[in-house]
C-alpha cells in the first residue's frame, strides 16, 4: 500500500507524544528524518501493518497530550503506523473522547444521563450554561477557531459514578495529563474546576455501604485491604485461588467453574464454564483473553468499584482464566472515563510482574501470561464482545457478524475468551470454596452472589452484593428506599437496555429465572429508582438520545430507528404529536419491533426495551393529551 498523506506536519509536541508511545521513528518511511538508506529500502508489508493495533493508543497519546488531534498529528500517526489517513480519520471520529477540532486543554465532561438527572444534573447544566456558557460540542475538522478562554464543558453520557451523582470527568491535556472522575458536582465546584482549581475533584471513594459485612464475597476486600498493596491483598486471601488453580490443572479449573454453574455477568448470562471449555479446546493458537471492563451501560458502576477497590483480584482472576484456556496474552479493555481504575490496575500489573505473578514463569509453575490495558475512547458499543476486538485491533468499534463466535475467531481472528470483570471476580470465590459449594449459594438456576448498582432516588446509593434470590424490594430496602416524604414510582432494572417495573412487581426475585418469568432482565445489575418528582418522559427521551448517540451506525434498523424513536419521544414530550399520543405509541412499537428483530447487535436489539416497558408496563402516555 502506498500511503498518500496530506501536507500538514505534526508539531514538536505531537511528535513527542507519539515518540513516547512508539519510540523514535526508525526511518524516513515512518516519518523520521529521511536518510540515504531510506532510498534503497522500503518499509511495508506485514511488519508495518501489524502495528495497526496501536492506532487507538496513538490517538489517545496525542489527545491527552495536546487536547485534540490535528491534521498534522493524524498524518503523522498514519505515517508511523502505515495506516491510510482516511482510515485513521474513520477510527478517530468513532470515539467521543477524541476531538478532531481544536479544543482547550481543560475539558469538563458533565454527566446529564438518567442517574444524574435524578440528582440535579439538568439544573447543574443549566447553571453552567448561565455562568460559564453553552457546552462546547465543537465541529469536527481542524480549521475551526479554538475557544479562547482555555476551558470548556461538555455534556456526557453516564460516567459510571451514578452512586455519587451528579458526576463529572475533568481532563487536562499535557505532560503528564490530569484526569479526574469525581462526584457530587455543584455548579460552583464545576466552575472552579474549569478555572484550574482541582480541590473539588478529590478522588476519595466512599466505602461500599455493606462495608465490613462478613458475608460479602466479591466486595470482601473493598475498603478493607489497601488496593495499592499486593501484600495487603495476599493478607486478605489474595492469590490463594491461583495457587489452587495450579493444583487443579487447566481441566480441573474448568470443571470447578462448570460445576459452579457460573453465568456471565456482562449481560448475556452465558454459562462461563462452557465458554472456557470451548476456548480451551480450540486447536488454533494463540488464544487471547479479554477482560471486558468497558462498563458504559447507564446506571452501571460495579466493575469500577471492583477495579478501583480490588485491582489485584482482577489480575489474579484473569491469570486463572488464561491458565485454564491456554492464553498467553490478556487485555483489559477499560472504558476511557475511569482514570482511577486505570491507575490502580496499572499499579497492580506492575507489582504483579515484579513479583513473578505475571510474566514468563508465574509462581514458578512455568506458566506464561501478561496483561495489557487498552483504554476505550468513549463508545458504549465497544463493550459488545466483537466490537471490542475491532477497537483493540485499531478498527472502528463496529460489531462483527456472528458466526463465527469469539471462541472460534475473536481478537486478531484467534480463539478468544471475553469475560466481564464481575464474572471473573466470581472465579476467585469458586476456587476458594469449590465449585460445588459455590453452586449451593443462591438458587438452582442462578448460583453465587450478584452485584447490584443501586442508584437514582435511593437514600444510600452504591454497589450491593447479595446471594441470588433476594427480591427487588429487599434490595431497595438495603439502599434505604426513597426516603421519607417520597413515593417510589418505578424502577429501571438492567440499565438503559433494561426494563421499567412497577411497585406491584417489586417482589420479583432478582434471579435470571425470576426476571425472565417477569419478562424483565438483570442486564448489568442496575437498579435505578424513580420517585414521584422524576418526569419519566424526560428519562425516556434521554435514553433514546443515548442510543442515538451510541449506535455505531452500521445497520439501518438501529442507525435510523434510534433517530425515529427519539423524534417520536421528543414530539410526545413537547406535546407536538403527529396524530394522537396513541398513534405515536403505535409508531414507536413498529420502530421498536424492527430494531429488535433486524439489528445486527444487542445495542439495536435492546434500544426499545426500556421505552417499550415504560409504555406498556407503566403506561406513561396515559394523561398525555394530543395537541
Amino acid at each position: 500500500m502506498d500511503l498518500h498523506l496530506l501536507d500538514a506536519k505534526p508539531t514538536a509536541e505531537e511528535r513527542e507524544a507519539l515518540d513516547a508511545l512508539l519510540g523514535k521513528p526508525l526511518s524516513g518511511w515512518e516519518g523520521g528524518v529521511r536518510g540515504a538508506r531510506d532510498t534503497r529500502t522500503a518499509a511495508g508489508g506485514h511488519a508495518s501493518r501489524e502495528r495497526r493495533h496501536l492506532l487507538l493508543p496513538a490517538l489517545h497519546a496525542v489527545q491527552s497530550r495536546v487536547g485534540w488531534i490535528s491534521e498534522g498529528a493524524l498524518n503523522h500517526i498514519a505515517e508511523r503506523l502505515t495506516v491510510p489517513p482516511a482510515d485513521v480519520y474513520g477510527v478517530a471520529t468513532f470515539y467521543a473522547l477524541l476531538s478532531l477540532s481544536p479544543r482547550p486543554r481543560r475539558v469538563l465532561h458533565v454527566c446529564d444521563d438518567i442517574g444524574c438527572r435524578c440528582r440535579g444534573a439538568e439544573q447543574l447544566c443549566a447553571e453552567l450554561e448561565r455562568t460559564v456558557g453553552p457546552p462546547y460540542h465543537g465541529p469536527t475538522g481542524s480549521r475551526h477557531e479554538i475557544p479562547s478562554d482555555g476551558a470548556v464543558w461538555l455534556r456526557s453520557p453516564c460516567l459510571g459514578l451514578c452512586d455519587q451523582a451528579p458526576a463529572a470527568l475533568l481532563s487536562i491535556a499535557g505532560a503528564p495529563p490530569v484526569e479526574r472522575l469525581f462526584g457530587s458536582v455543584s455548579a460552583p465546584a464545576a466552575s472552579r474546576t474549569l478555572g484550574g482549581d482541582l480541590g473539588a475533584t478529590t478522588l476519595a471513594r466512599p466505602v461500599p455501604p455493606q462495608h465490613g459485612d462478613p458475608t460479602l464475597r466479591l466486595l470482601r476486600r473493598i475498603g478493607v485491604a489497601d488496593p495499592k498493596s499486593l501484600d495487603d491483598f495476599r493478607a486478605h486471601g489474595g492469590y490463594t485461588s491461583l495457587r489452587r488453580a495450579f493444583e487443579l490443572g487447566p481441566e480441573g479449573v474448568i470443571r470447578e467453574v462448570t460445576e459452579a454453574k457460573l453465568l456471565g455477568r456482562g449481560g448475556a448470562a452465558f454459562p462461563t464454564g462452557r465458554k472456557w471449555d470451548a476456548v480451551a479446546r480450540q486447536p488454533v493458537r494463540p488464544h487471547y483473553l479479554v477482560c471486558n471492563a468497558d462498563e458504559s451501560e447507564p446506571g452501571t458502576f460495579k466493575d469500577r468499584v471492583l477495579m478501583e477497590g480490588d485491582p489485584f483480584a482482577v489480575i489474579e482472576a484473569m491469570t486463572i482464566g488464561a491458565y485454564a484456556t491456554g492464553c498467553e496474552k490478556g487485555f483489559i479493555y477499560l472504558r476511557g472515563e475511569y482514570p482511577l481504575a486505570h491507575e490502580r490496575l496499572e499499579n497492580a500489573i506492575r507489582i504483579a510482574r515484579a513479583r513473578g505473578l505475571l510474566g514468563d514463569n508465574i509462581m514458578g509453575q512455568g506458566f506464561r501470561f501478561d496483561i495489557e490495558i487498552r483504554k476505550g475512547g468513549g463508545a458504549y458499543i465497544c463493550g459488545e464482545e466483537t466490537a471490542i476486538f475491532n477497537s483493540i485491533e485499531g478498527f472502528r468499534g463496529e460489531p462483527r457478524n456472528k458466526p463465527p463466535y469469539p471462541v472460534q475467531s475473536g481478537l486478531f481472528a484467534k480463539p478468544t475468551l471475553v469475560n466481564n470483570v464481575e464474572t471473573l471476580a466470581n472465579v476467585l470465590e469458586i476456587l476458594r470454596i469449590g465449585g460445588e459449594a459455590y453452586a449451593r449459594i443462591g438458587t438452582a438456576g442462578s448460583t453465587g452472589t450478584r452485584l447490584f448498582c443501586l442508584c437514582g432516588c435511593v437514600m444510600r446509593p452504591g454497589v450491593y452484593e447479595v446471594p441470588f434470590g433476594a427480591t427487588l424490594r429487599q434490595l431497595l430496602d438495603l439502599a434505604g428506599g426513597v426516603g421519607p416524604g417520597h413515593t417510589l414510582r418505578s424502577v429501571l432494572l438492567g440499565g438503559a437496555a433494561g426494563v421499567f417495573v412497577r411497585p406491584d412487581e417489586f417482589d420479583m426475585p432478582l434471579t435470571f429465572e425470576g426476571v425472565r418469568a417477569a419478562q424483565a432482565t438483570l442486564g448489568s445489575g442496575v437498579i435505578m429508582a424513580f420517585d414521584e418528582s422524576i418526569d419519566l418522559l424526560d428519562i425516556l427521551r434521554r435514553i433514546a438520545a443515548f442510543f442515538r448517540d451510541e449506535s455505531c451506525g452500521q445497520c439501518v434498523p438501529c442507525r435510523v430507528g434510534t433517530v425515529r424513536q427519539e423524534e417520536a419521544l421528543h414530539r410526545i414530550c413537547s406535546k407536538q404529536t403527529r396524530g394522537s399520543p396513541a398513534e405515536e405509541a403505535a409508531l414507536l412499537d413498529e420502530i421498536g419491533l424492527a430494531m429488535k428483530d433486524a439489528s445486527i447487535c444487542g445495542l439495536g436489539q435492546t434500544a426499545y426495551s426500556a421505552v417499550e416497558s415504560a409504555l406498556k408496563r407503566l403506561r406513561v402516555l396515559e394523561g398525555v393529551v394530543a395537541q
Binding site: M1, Y89, A96, S99, C555
Partner: protein
Amino acid sequence: MSADQLVPLQASRRTVELTIDGDPVRVPEGTTILDACRSKGTDIPTLCYLKTLHPVNVCRVCVVEVEGSRVLVPSCSRAVEPAMVVTTGSDRVRHSRKMVLEFLASSVDLSATPDVEAWLTSYAARPERYGPAAPPVAAGERDSLPTGHHPPPSTTHAATVGQPVKVDNELYVRDYGKCILCYKCVEACGTDFQNTFAIAVAGRGFDARISTEFAVELPKSACVYCGNCIAVCPTGALMFKSEFDHRQAGTWKEAEQTVTATICPYCGVGCTLELHVQDNEIVKVSSPLDHEVTSGNLCIKGRFGWRYVQNRKAADNPRTS
C-alpha cells in the same frame, strides 16, 4: 503437479438440505440463504449485497426468519445449514423489511436507486409518516458533526442526510444525500479491490458518513479515480460527472443509450469495457461484474480515458489542426 492431483473445478461440495417456505431445497454446502432462495425462484430484496464483494450485511432489507433464531437473519451472508427452516414472507419478515425501506426512504434520497419504488409499494411502506423531510444542511455541515452528544431533534421534520452534491473534480461526483451507507464503495476502494483506501466510514450512528481524511476534496485525497466505487454504488450517490451533468440538464436518456462491448486499448491486461453511448457520445464506462479478469473493476484509463474518442472536430483537438 501430476494429472491425478488435479482437483475438478467443481470440487464435490457436500449438499445441504433445508426447507424454505415449506419446500425442501438442496444446495451445495456454503451457499447463502439468499442464493438458496433465488435458486428456487424466491426473490428477496437486497441493497448492500453484491456478489463481487464481501458481504457486510448492514442494510438488513434481506432478512428472513430462521427457526430457532431469536432474531431475524440476513440472508445475504448467512450460509445454509442442514435442516434449516427458513421463512421468507412471514409478517415478522415483512415488517422489518418495510421498516428498513421506510427508514431509508425517509432519510435518504432514493430517487436513483433501482427497484426501490416497487419494493416500497409491495411492502406498503409509508416513509412520509415520520413527517416532512428536514431541508438539506449546508455544504460541509454533516462532515463536521462531532461524535457523541447531539442537539435535540426537530418536532416537525424527519432528520435526513440531505446535503449538497460534492463536485470537486472533472470525473465523478459524490451526492451523499443519496447515500445509504452500504459500505460497498469503502470495500471496493479498500481490501476487496483497489487497495487505495481513499475513503472510509467516519463518525458514528446517524452521523456516520463516507469520508476522506478530514473530508478533504478528492483531488487532495489518495483517490486514483479508478471509479470502482462508482461501479458498485447501488444508489447513484457516486456518479460519473458526465451522467450527472446530463441529469442536471434533463438530457439523461438511459432508455435510448446503447452499450458497446470492447477491449480497453491502453495496456496488455485487456479489460473488457462497456461503453454507454447516448447521441453518439460516450456518457459512461463500465465493465461486467461477472468478468473473470475485471470483476467490474477498471483503472482511471479504462474508466475515464475516453475523451479522445470524442474529440472528432478539429477545433476540439489542437494537435491535429
